[in-house]
Point group: C2
Chain length 186, copies 2
Amino acid sequence: MIGALTLSMQTWKTLSRETVLKRGKFLRVEDHTVQLPDGRVIEQWPWVITPDFINVVAVTEAGEFLCFRQVKYAVTGEALATVGGYLEPGEEPLAAAQRELLEETGYEATQWIALGQYRVDANRGAGTAHFFLALHAHYVAERNADDLEEQHLLLLTRTEVEAALDADQFKALPWAAIVALALRRL
Amino acid sequence: MIGALTLSMQTWKTLSRETVLKRGKFLRVEDHTVQLPDGRVIEQWPWVITPDFINVVAVTEAGEFLCFRQVKYAVTGEALATVGGYLEPGEEPLAAAQRELLEETGYEATQWIALGQYRVDANRGAGTAHFFLALHAHYVAERNADDLEEQHLLLLTRTEVEAALDADQFKALPWAAIVALALRRL
């Protein structure tokens, strides 16, 4: 049944698009005029453009997971977080993942496993998440994070990570998603 | 270490907010003026308001997973999807999950397990995802979906769902996230 995932279903057509809001490199909103397969036309379908981003679950030789205790503007209270950040213009997702791991933790990893790429909002876009599992992570340099938020690096055991995931302590969708996906490969 | 997740870190303050774009009930964008703990003030921090939504992984008595083969405007090609939809104004997440399961599949379930709530964008908001696992799902009525997209209901085995997840066929972040989280409880 899964094998039937070929493109036999008709997709929607974008007839026109117009930028209606721009906020630097972090947000642009377009109105799309969209045509459905049955011919119906929808005006002002909102389309959200935010930068693509990466998240990384990094695990040391000793089996410790690199996580953060962190506050974020859109998250209530403290949360556990993974390494993550936006792609620079023209940057490949893997390169961004390796850069962010080094900047945020001072660690490098020798084995990188792609955990997929996922559209954030299936209706309106809102960027794509690229997930990576980084194995054999080891400390090489001082952290050099330029994030605005306070964050504290934690080395957690697998048991601690699983307990935190099941207790909803990874409070943002990308963090919970990548942790759950990474645990399947470990 | 996890136990230290009390609110000792300082959060950001919203000094003011102004609506700068509105598109019906699906999107509103605000500019926030935000103050960091160190006193710095950021102007025009974009804040995205989209409706909260639910996703459901529903499993029948026979262990079949209710999924869709589906196209969505922001997803390339066909994808596997879970039951999902927006909360109506004032609607509780569980009620929305039960309503969407019935509307989209014609199934009801007798056991509901909350799988957490997750902020979509830790920086800009973009709504909250509420995830549920529905067990003992059974067919009770004709489907009555009002979605604009073509979708085909599939009954998949756990093995098929796991293979599809690992092959990145759940192409949107909420779908991959809830499937990975649900599999941990099954």
